[in-house]
Symmetry: C2
Subunit: 550 residues, 2 copies
């Protein structure tokens, strides 16, 4: 009988070897995981169709499969695990690339992104420093340069000077638009309270001493009330306070009201509040409208505030000769947020911010001894994040393979489709458009003609009552349609001028997927009408509505 | 001749079709990209070996290939672009999975991560909300639960209660450790200045009014001087000011000096500075040492400060029966940062923070109308980031496939290897260990025996002179070795007690790659000695050193 020690040692040895295998030996070509991998590669659309079940799953029921808080002691076979993922996760994920998934800003991906992503993952570079990224660092600098040029259109000399300068960066890559917005306003805050005399700047001494030194009673960020919720987070995290994210009223078209903006700024100034930044929106999340950027830039200059543009959604409209005029004035922004995982069709996790003047990004520079040393070209010195993956490679690939011409087609067809869809809704007596598409986003609601007519002449009390029923109907239809799983529109609440800025629940449709056709959209409306005619609940609402409108 | 309009229309039509193809038609099996993809799948190690050229590339030379700031007008063929990436990017990236790449915390990936990543990318889920992630949301909640349990070891009832609760989350997934640390201290700051009476809390009213209301003259975060540079960023971004990130001295072993910590806290209290948080480090970035967490917890309680532990590196040591005692006291932390892309061997972009008391994470909750509504299970309401990819799937897969047993082996072999490597250096008269491994990180420098002896009896002036020459030698050797490209150790500066806390340049070795063998490490030392004997510069330094030491 072999002695115990020997057996133990042999076992440990075997385990180390099996760990070694995990790192070096690929899955056999006929293993479950390899087959799934192949299937995804050969026919993504087919894979999605076959594996993503369209029926809504009850969240609570799903939670049962994800209930164990214990990390298992013993390893699971890769193929067994792959099968589990297929059955329990993939089959119950959301088919974000489905042409009828038009509810959110997560769309289909171009095919080439898949094998390129695998290469990116395999290389596992870390962009915080050149030592762990080498060529990826100049690549990322180039991507920042290309998108900077798209926005600001400086001449080639400018980019030759700045793009690869060790002291500066033209922008910061981020995991998404929220971090990009925070980065922009972090820089704006630090620039608003710079070092002076004995004061070492807000970056060193903090906001309390900064406001005392400069003699302010507070600091604020100004944005329209359609601004993304990340700005509230920004105001919170930066120590400004979310009450100092001042939301300005919008006009009938969800664009910032310039008079209200000026009044707001004047009032803040009078109240001795420092305006750190004014934000213009180039494509509001809910309605896709664009603030009058040129005029907002003017007001920002007047009040000496950093002018930031959140173009997370609308930025790529600059590729379109036909529609880029909508973003006129964006080149006057001090900083601009873009989300590559939205209309640049890059996988999730890829936002960025570009700065007109690369010197301004220095306001948030940090250094350490073992990385991002002073004078190095390490991009980590001007990012909020530390370690970051090589997503720049995928943005770069999109810019090369789809190119300006391709992105222009994608933008144009989205906006054109939204307009056609608007016509469709307009001519349908059962629906009411709440916001017409300026870009490729449209909001509407279920509102039969008799209710539309009644609302025109209703007094405030009656209007509220009618809208309350309509809200419940719209909400019900949206949820039912989502649960049926054939298509998905999202919903939000808007405060339309014509309903005296009272909140109304609306359907929201985002048309960025080139595979969505007019027929897809027709089917969505048809299905919504079917839900109305077939649902006892909606029929009940309809009866109440008729009584109210009589 | 067909009329102009018709030709234009046909062209536009063709372009739309080609865009459609980009989204739907996979690469042909024999295309360049498909071949690369296959090659990566079949033999990652071979692919890396064949394609990542070991020789150092001049950064400026590389920049020439990434110099064009213009986005191309016309699309590039996918295969042409793939070939470009192979030649210009892949060939000049860093072989992070090479066994001799032991300089940073970016290591090899288990094979199964590649096909799983492709599936994750193809599904393109967005974890900000359930509507765009469905089963991924309960999965992410489970992953947070599993890692919470690893750290805090609550009983099953606790997790049954909290893991899937719509009002709370056990932690926040982040793109990396920096965002995780910011998230933890953001919550800590908001908890330090909560709503009270007429005051709506720092989250709403900002830091200026918070400090005024609570009557403080400042706010501080306390961490040892070995703390990660992300804490300086944190203090900056949160509006506390980086001067209020108070760095406490360490003992001989790079662990926080408890007396100094207590003195610092007492002084801050006396100066009327609110201590928002005290940070314990479980694996310092530079030396891998662990603060005495139990005692730090005690001091944090005494001063009523949030106790955060940065276990980005060392957290998975909890898998090891042999070494987990090193982290004793971590379960007393209010929040703990873990980086899954470090010692959980998940691809880059995967950090997280867990909170002992899930209610505390509410301090940073944000909501919106169209996502993360109140009462939804959307995980986006308690994350700093907005849209996020489904990285939880990859962490989950690691926890299942490698399991506790596998991670234990990985941790144990790393620490054991570091100790053996330390013995090797100790017995080699040409090298001097600066920090012995507590985990799997070791620092040392080139320092011939005669210099080691001279330093023992040197006065301060002589010591500085000797160390200055040694610094230049170590720096030169590190750079030369990196440029030769066979292996990579990083370098940093430490202030060893025995050299009166004067900065010394050191080699830093991180041993997390299971493929690194003792022979790899022997080769690294041999190569360093060869650089010394073959380099004119180092020989020149050596001569100066001999004169100084005589």
């Amino acid at each position: 009988m072999p002695d115990q020690q020997y057996v133990k040692k042999k076992f440990a040895q075997a385990s180390i070897e099996s760990m070694y295998r995990v790192f070096t030996v690929p899955e056999a070509p006929d293993s479950t995981l390899s087959r799934i991998d192949q299937h995804v590669s050969n026919n993504l659309a087919g894979f999605m169709q076959d594996h993503i079940v369209a029926v809504e799953h009850d969240l609570q029921a799903m939670e049962k499969d994800f209930a164990d808080s214990k990390i298992p002691e013993k390893p699971t076979f890769v193929s067994e695990h792959a099968q589990f993922l297929l059955d329990k996760l993939v089959a119950r994920s959301v088919h974000t690339s489905s042409p009828s998934f038009v509810g959110h800003m997560t769309s289909a991906l171009p095919y080439f992104m898949l094998p390129l992503s695998k290469i990116m993952i395999a290389l596992n570079q870390n962009l915080v420093k050149t030592e762990t990224s080498k060529a990826f660092t100049p690549l990322e600098r180039q991507v920042l340069g290309m998108l900077h040029r798209l926005v600001y259109g400086q001449d080639s000399d400018f980019y030759t000077t700045w793009m690869h300068d060790a002291e500066y960066a033209l922008g910061a890559m981020c995991s998404g638009g929220t971090i990009a917005n925070i980065t922009a306003l972090w820089a704006a805050r630090n620039l608003a309270f710079p070092p002076e005399g004995n004061f070492k700047g807000v970056s060193h001494e903090g906001l309390f001493r900064a406001l005392k030194y400069y003699g302010y009673d507070g600091a604020a960020i100004v944005v329209s009330k359609r601004g993304h919720y990340s700005f509230r987070k920004t105001a919170d995290v930066l120590g400004i306070g979310r009450d100092y994210l001042v939301a300005v009223d919008t006009d009938d078209d969800n664009r910032i009201d310039l008079d209200a903006l000026r009044e707001t700024c004047t009032r803040l100034k009078k109240d001795n509040i420092c305006i750190i930044g004014i934000v213009g929106i180039a494509g509001t999340t809910e309605t896709g409208n664009i603030d009058p950027l040129e005029e907002v830039a003017e007001i920002a200059r007047e009040f000496k505030a950093h002018f930031h543009v959140d173009a997370a959604w609308g930025g790529p409209t600059l590729f379109s000769h036909r529609y880029k005029h909508l973003l006129k004035g964006i080149e006057k922004a001090d900083s601009v947020t873009l989300d590559a995982h939205k209309q640049l069709y890059v996988p999730m996790g890829s936002g960025l911010v570009v700065f007109k003047d690369p010197k301004k990004l220095k306001a948030i520079a940090h250094h350490a001894q073992y990385v991002v040393r002073r004078g190095s070209k390490d991009l980590g010195s001007t990012t909020l994040e530390g370690s970051r993956p090589g997503m720049a490679m995928l943005i770069y690939s999109g810019l090369k393979i789809i190119a300006k011409e391709g992105y222009e087609i994608l933008i144009d067809q989205g906006i054109n489709k939204a307009r056609t869809f608007a016509d469709l809704i307009d001519t349908d007596p059962e629906f009411e458009i709440i916001s017409y598409p300026e870009l490729n986003i449209i909001t509407y609601r279920y509102c039969p003609e008799f209710a539309q007519l009644a609302l025109v002449s209703a007094d405030d009390i009656q209007m509220d009552k009618i809208n309350e029923v309509l809200d419940r109907m719209t909400k019900f239809i949206q949820k039912t349609q989502r649960e049926k799983g054939l298509s998905f529109v999202s919903r939000t609440r808007l405060e339309p001028k014509k309903y005296h800025q009272k909140p109304c629940v609306v359907f929201r449709v985002v048309l960025a997927n080139p595979l969505t056709t007019l027929d897809t959209l027709k089917d969505i409306l048809t299905e919504q009408k079917e839900i109305v005619s077939q649902s006892v609940e909606v029929q009940h609402f309809l009866k109440r509505l008729k009584v109210l409108c009589d």
